[in-house]
């Protein structure tokens, strides 16, 4: 678990910027950068900004300072989750005591189904992902029942 705050834009502080989030990254599936999508939403807060502006394409970085971490991390990080196992297999670490073997195996099968669905993804024929997702659903139900 980790704790961060955005590095201040102004004011005299000695806080380091330990991580920068590339929120100006362009997403070809969405047809916009993440900060452009966000500003479109911010524009609905009209009582405060009268409508807001959507920035032009281009990189925008947002710096963060790390205040705490329960896992070992380097001074400069590339991702909020560096040092944390965020894979589906990592969910098994939450199981305290008892036989969690069935859980690890179930998570492995779920992950394989998601990766197959992702590999077969087609923007013009999204149904190609459906069989793998259906299989993943069955594996999820099976793991949930502990069998």
């Amino acid at each position: 678990m980790k704790d961060y705050a955005r590095a201040p834009f102004f004011g005299r502080t000695q806080l380091s910027t330990d991580l920068e989030i590339p929120e100006g990254t362009y997403d070809p599936i969405l047809g916009a950068s993440y900060v452009q999508v966000a500003r479109e939403g911010l524009g609905y807060q009209k009582s405060q900004n009268g409508g807001g502006n959507i920035p032009k394409a281009g990189m925008v970085m947002s710096g963060y300072h790390r205040f705490g971490s329960t896992v070992d991390v380097p001074a400069k990080e590339k991702d909020f989750f560096e040092g944390i196992d965020t894979s589906l297999a990592g969910i098994a670490s939450l199981a305290k005591g008892g036989d969690a073997g069935f859980l690890s195996e179930g998570l492995r099968k779920m992950n394989a189904a998601v990766e197959e669905a992702t590999a077969k993804f087609s923007a013009i024929e999204p149904s190609r992902s459906a069989p793998a997702l259906a299989n993943g659903m069955k594996e999820t139900i099976r793991a949930d029942r502990g069998c």
């Binding site: 961060y4 705050a5 502080t13 993440y34 009209k46 963060y64 990592g90 993804f121």
Partner: protein, 213 residues
Amino acid sequence: MRLFISVLLVACAFAQTPYDTTIKPSTTSRDIPVNRGSAALWQSLKKLHTRASLIMITAHPDDEDGGMLTYESRGKGTRVALLTLNRGEGGANVMSPDYFDALGLVRTQELLEAGRYYGVDQYWTRVVDYGFSKTMEESIKSWTRDRVLYDVVRVVRVVRPLVITSVFIGGPSDGHGNHQTAGAMAQAVFKAAGDPNVFPDQIRAGLESLGRR
């Protein structure tokens, strides 16, 4: 025709935006473009592939780092929550003559609308935006520290994020006293949410402390 309408109603009832983590009735007749079609499926596949989770804690609607929230939720597949301490009812209004409680309703709806674009689940605490204050002490005097922390700890124990963030550092550079308090709470909850002796009534009610994760 009746069959067609029935099918349509069922489809609408279970339409899911990519950041939804539970199946629930749709509250919109037509979702925003980035939540539809192949774009929605692509984002759902990212979310199915990770257990990454993050919460941002701010003071008022429009304080949030929407670009970061959107990057994490839609770009990385992270499960993202936004906790805003109050409704911003003590703030300005450049669009209408609504102030105080009426403005709080307006800004709540505005933030909910913005959140659809960020791709976040949203939460608030019970404290009121009473107007501008220069220091954290003024905010704490109005709210009391325990009342704010109680609600923040409760939301973090419900969301159970792997990463806690804020746009505020809990100091004078944050400006408004409400901002400073939000920053301080985002740091205090990092330890408090994991300690079962902090607000033990929440544990007795069924929530779990976060522990070392």
